[in-house]
Symmetry: C2
Subunit: 353 residues, 2 copies
Amino acid sequence: MGRQLTIKEIAARAGVSSGTVDRVLHNRGKVSPDKEEKVRAILDEIDFKLNIHTSVISIKKNYELVICTPEYSQGEYWGAIDSGIKSALDEFNDLSIVSTHITYDQFDANSCHKAYAQILKQNPDAIILGPIFEQETRSLCQDLDNRGIPYAFVDSTIEGTNPIASLMADQPAGGRLICRLLESFTGTDNEILLCRPKQAGSEQSYNYSKRLNGFYDYVKETGRTGKVKELFFSMDDSEASAQAVISVLKQNPGIKGVAILNSRGYFIADILAEHGLKDIKVASFDLSYNNVRCLKNGSISVLLSQRPMTQGFISVRAIIEQLIYRKKEKTFIKMPIDILMKDNLPFYKDLPL
Amino acid sequence: MGRQLTIKEIAARAGVSSGTVDRVLHNRGKVSPDKEEKVRAILDEIDFKLNIHTSVISIKKNYELVICTPEYSQGEYWGAIDSGIKSALDEFNDLSIVSTHITYDQFDANSCHKAYAQILKQNPDAIILGPIFEQETRSLCQDLDNRGIPYAFVDSTIEGTNPIASLMADQPAGGRLICRLLESFTGTDNEILLCRPKQAGSEQSYNYSKRLNGFYDYVKETGRTGKVKELFFSMDDSEASAQAVISVLKQNPGIKGVAILNSRGYFIADILAEHGLKDIKVASFDLSYNNVRCLKNGSISVLLSQRPMTQGFISVRAIIEQLIYRKKEKTFIKMPIDILMKDNLPFYKDLPL
DNA sequence: ACAAAGAGTGTGTCCGTGCACAAATATATG
DNA sequence: CATATATTTGTGCACGGACACACTCTTTGT
């Protein structure tokens, strides 16, 4: 290993003062080309890294961080992301980062538009985005790029943008996996029912459609003999949905498994439980409060989770590394997709670390 | 939030000097009872935490850390734990911690004894233990307790010791889970074959026996109709083992699933693959190189993993928190048991964070 | 009674970086 | 050429905690 050179030592080697090295390091300008080159040469040669700890204690600036995600209730997906963010901010609390949380309605593009306008007005030092609307987000990112404000994505990423970090699960893989699981549970010959939510936003969501692709890719590739039947349901009218589900199942006794490719599995599971259909396996996404309840009582067999808390945590860390430690590498991580069943559920606190 | 108070501010409030606060914080003694109480009162009131960064800068001591685990080859369980440890040490490299790795033969109590003697001789500041032998470890821990040297367990914990941290998976839950998975895959009526290794150490290992308990607990509780058949195999004689496995399966065509409760699933999976028994589901533990190969080629259906890398990482962090930041809380974490299938495998880098 | 030892307390320096400000040098202007 | 104005460069203090050391006040031993 060997100790790192300090800024002063580098300054000595380059025949300049520590202030000049500092200016080069932080691109503050006001350095003559020849001296800058000398310093850069040494920096490259020794692969200099700032001492994180000393940097932190001497930084005077207050950083403003804006987090912008869809609205959420307690115990839901976005809430978990948020608590990961909070926990990271807590860990880095010596840094005097002020964070603001702006939320928007994930079913209303206009509310997203407003939220983004608010961000631009606030002009923060960095932003964590949970994006739903492609157009709006792309446009926002354009502005941010122009202003040189770094931003990170959680949950999903919008193409044609330049985030400094992106934390998301591979959604097609999730779709494939849920199909593989249900098939494993029910046998390759039996039918699977795919319950698709009618609600406006969910179906158009980028994540949902990717999962759907993955699901059907798996079906195609494996050439499974059992068919996949689709049923659209609306959460607004539980009565009608319940009737629809039950009638499909009665008419198709070959259906042994049900997939719900978003976090609404509990809605279907409750219907099945109410009608005593215990042998039908239900698989869905996310450890929301209701889904967990159903997994515990057995009405859901398996849940897939994409480590929302870890996503939040890492996004903050990436921002800080970029902002404070001037790290250049970007953080693009495909989160693991965790498979949750009754027995391993209790241990998934989704540790931020 | 609001900023943390500094030591000097606390000193001012308590009407003492910063030195006195420092002595209280680090239990260095030489503080009169009345002043100590005053300081402690304030500390409790404001939930004081040391500023990590400043601490790191000003600490002069060199810490010696010993890691003691069973020997391992590349790409195996203990290797993953070790790389988690390395990655944590890397992250805290400003702390000048010198680490030594001592290994022992997990099938030879005497080699473990020697390793432990070596530890005591080296008299380090902290130890991370991957324990296999109960007696030896308990005795070591006794000595360490007497000397006041903190130690942390990874992989499993020995009863009757006082570690400052313990990172392990809930083994019974793992046993239950593997049984539930196989049952889900093969149906509750079909038989399951439990392949048990004959090798001396494995069977006695604490983890193994706990998994076995969990496995049979699940069988009992669910009252599954399909039987569980046991077969002992030896890795030393592949020919004989292969013959034994195949003959059992021929004689019991009702067997649709095979469980191996340690990391040797690939051994059985390879035998099945060689004999074209593709429809039998194999489930095992750990993301060792060979198991991953089998999961990819389909000869293993599912693997359970206990985040070895994370275990290693957190153990170091816990030690550092104890040693440097004088944190008092102990870190007892039951690691999540990850379920790995072909589709989610690629994303399990087992990020240390 | 006086020295020595010990307990309790405060002071000051160091760590490496950030940043404001002073100093030095270069360039422009009349 | 002198002076004003940029531009570049150097200097010094602050950040917050660790720890060595010095200082004061008691206690103990002779």
